[in-house]
Symmetry: C2
């Protein structure tokens, strides 16, 4: 026997008033007699009345949900961001609908479509592709608030929260060059991904500034998972003249590189120096500890959420483009190299 949840009509009936009066009493607006208000409150209490948000939303057009589409919840970087967004949302009476695109554009598009049909109030998205963004354009065109995180999309006029990828990568590679390395490997993600491109660009600029000719044999591409990174690293270091140093563009790939190098019997920093983009819990567990470019992960989610809720509360103004600085954290995975 399924007992339907109590409706306003039930409350009104129990309190012997009209629905209108009951609504006034419960939402305290308009004129309501003291005694009446009490009666209604009591009735609501007794029936365990909880407003049906679906109905409320149908009228108001506002369902207290925000959507978040990221690449992969299992990447600690995104997990942290999702967590922070959820906290802010909760503080503001909203809940979080989370989806992962798995770095697949088609999935991102269909996920977004499915979320849009839910009358979600606004979105925070880490777009898979910067170029193919018609689906995001249409959000903006229809004035659905959108905040991009970690990555931007071309020609999209909306708020975004990024980090200085190019600068961070450049700092890392310049540091490797300064310690004497010239054959510097790059383990990077799919080129469609914005951060991957920016970080590669920083890598290239550092090489150019150091007078080192780019060499595509030094670059390996893999998906951003530990497993794929292992393979890509093995490919890179199976060459006749492998790199003497390696820069990896995210923490999962750094971990993959660590595993691969260990399995190949290549010692860090003895045989190869390593710097990873994005700090991770276990960077200080390994021996030696891993030098990384750290980004202010704890700021990204909070900032993005705040921007989104600003828009939701009607704040206008030009798109905010926020970019956080990155920082090179020197630990023990880089060792000087005498130019050979």
């Amino acid at each position: 026997m399924v007992r339907k949840p109590a409706t306003l009509k039930d409350v009104a009936a129990l309190a012997n008033v009209s629905r209108a009066t009951a609504a006034r009493a419960l939402n305290s607006y308009g004129y309501v007699g003291d005694e009446t208000a009490q009666k209604v409150q009591a009735a609501a209490e007794r029936l365990g009345y909880r407003g049906n948000r679906l109905a409320q939303a149908l009228r108001s057009g506002q369902f207290p949900l925000i959507g978040c589409i990221i690449g992969d919840i299992q990447n600690p970087f995104f997990a942290r961001i999702a967590h922070d967004i959820e906290v802010v949302a909760r503080e503001l009476g909203h809940n979080l609908v989370l989806g992962s695109s798995e770095e697949d554009l088609g999935q991102e598009i269909s996920l977004l479509a499915s979320l849009r049909s839910l009358s979600i109030r606004g979105f925070i998205v880490a777009p898979t592709s910067s170029a193919d963004n018609a689906h995001l354009q249409s959000l903006v065109a229809e004035h659905v608030p959108l905040v991009l995180i970690d990555r931007v999309a071309e020609g999209l006029d909306c708020d975004s929260v990024l980090v200085d990828n190019e600068g961070g990568a450049r700092k890392a590679v310049e540091y490797l060059i300064a310690t004497g390395h010239r054959r510097i490997g790059l383990l990077q993600d799919d080129m469609r991904i914005f951060t991957s491109r920016e970080r590669m660009s920083g890598y290239q600029k550092a090489l150019a500034a150091g007078g080192i000719a780019p060499d595509e044999r030094m670059v390996s591409v893999s998906q951003s998972t530990v497993e794929h990174a292992v393979d890509a690293t093995i490919r890179l270091f199976s060459q006749k003249r492998p790199p003497t140093a390696l820069f990896t563009v995210d923490s999962l790939m750094t971990q993959g590189a660590l595993l691969a190098l260990r399995s190949m019997g290549i010692s860090i920093p003895h045989n190869v120096s390593l710097i990873g983009f994005d700090d991770f819990n276990l960077a200080t567990f390994t021996d030696p500890q891993i030098t990384v470019v750290s980004q202010p992960v704890s700021e990204i989610g909070r900032t993005a959420a705040r921007l989104l809720f600003d828009r939701l509360s009607g704040k206008g103004g030009p798109a905010q483009k926020i970019r956080f600085e990155t920082k090179l954290i020197v630990r023990g995975s880089v060792r000087g190299q005498n130019p050979s």
Copy 2:
């Protein structure tokens, strides 16, 4: 100029038919003339009509959302589960509303209340407390489908997906005893948490079976974060007669213990042996690699989601209580000890 999304009324008007006919054409039920259907389709296309799910849900009482409340998205264990649930939900046309209780009962209760008001169809919850579960009881009483993961709640008649915590812990501690350890430390989570209690129980039974008297100085409690675990480990190993082996009840605590032991200059497995519950990416990165009790993480989320959707599609029958086996994965963090 915000263009409101097109409604069925708009479509009907453009096609010169009634709303009822338009609905029939779009949802293909009842009798509709071929020509009429085409007109409606065309009109819908032209207006970019997308049904308003809020309105649909208000009538049908079913909003395609499932809710998931876990302890902490940042714990890779839960991240994996959340990901798997999301995948299954997406396949079945649903989206996932994710909330984290942060292991706080009050927050779990208010989060659940807020999710319930959204007309969410069903829930997957990892309850913070087994005893205080009136909020979950009321879900079950009102026939809202509920699946518990990782932990159960007392006297709650609903599906659940767990692992054999006691057996896993017992295997680990028996293994430590078999290698000669007698002062075996336990680093455990808050006792209110179900898994923590079960794992401690396995620890105690193994000790008892090995003829070792329980010693509360060997037990340290901390929250399940790397940072808290560091402190708790330091407390444990600052005693005059510290443990010679340590069993940690989850992967974040294992990582904390690793960090703490390193910072204290205690070498694994030379000075102290270590086994952790729950395998983690970096268990094989450290030197030595960490021996762990692994659980079939990839099964838990998928199984829970499947159970939930079975219920949502009306499947009856008694509550399914699923418990997966755990497995001791021997690596290099345990070393024989001559009884002292």
